[in-house]
């Protein structure tokens, strides 16, 4: 069975700073997707970034980038130039390639301070 672990329950950083959220996972699969989702107080789950395990290049979406270490089963999210609107819960998640259900971590609550 797959598991996703987020070891940082809560983090706070000043606006404009860079912050890194950690995530590790466990799987015996070789092909899979990894995701970071953002969940603001509205409860809407928003996909921030995805990484295909077969791609060695780390995914980047504007201010968001990941550090994907497949051998170490590590998948961290870096947010650059953090903004007040980045305040939310962030979930790391796993899905088998061709699979269906998403396995989520417990989340990291991120506060961006003015």
């Amino acid at each position: 069975a797959q598991t996703v672990t987020q070891s940082q329950p809560e983090m706070s950083v000043q606006e404009a700073e860079t912050v890194t959220l950690s995530c590790t996972y466990d799987t015996s699969e070789n092909n899979y997707y990894l995701f970071w989702y953002k969940q603001p107080p509205s409860r809407q789950m928003i996909l921030v970034i995805r990484q295909e395990a077969y791609k060695q290049q780390n995914a980047t979406e504007n201010r968001f980038s990941v550090n994907f270490q497949k051998a170490a089963k590590s998948f961290s999210l870096k947010i650059s130039d953090s903004q007040l609107g980045d305040t939310a819960m962030y979930f790391c998640a796993f899905m088998k390639l061709g699979g269906d259900k998403i396995i989520f971590g417990k989340g990291t609550r991120l506060h961006i301070l003015p």
């Binding site: 409860r43 809407q44 789950m45 928003i46 979930f91 269906d100 259900k101 396995i103 417990k106």
Partner: protein, 117 residues
Amino acid sequence: GAGVSQTPSNKVTEKGKYVELRCDPISGHTALYWYRQSLGQGPEFLIYFQGTGAADDSGLPNDRFFAVRPEGSVSTLKIQRTERGDSAVYLCASRPLAGQADSYEQYFGPGTRLTVT
């Protein structure tokens, strides 16, 4: 276009009552998922539909939980004899047909917050 919608947004019910939660997926999306998110936790998979049939219901916690999708579009999650431990946010997601662009991505609704008193 319109996203995934869920009704009601909030539902308060008494222990032992029956509840129905509704999900309207994005038009044309063939796959539909239900997840449960307890307080302070990440969402947990409940059931997945491909078309009208339940392709995987391994996440349903017990036989008090049931879900249907009779016409391959709208889905209803049904909970019988509700218990206080059922209190959670119930999230629905839909996904396009495999092979279409971005068909890996699940699009989530805003959820229904269920409170059992």
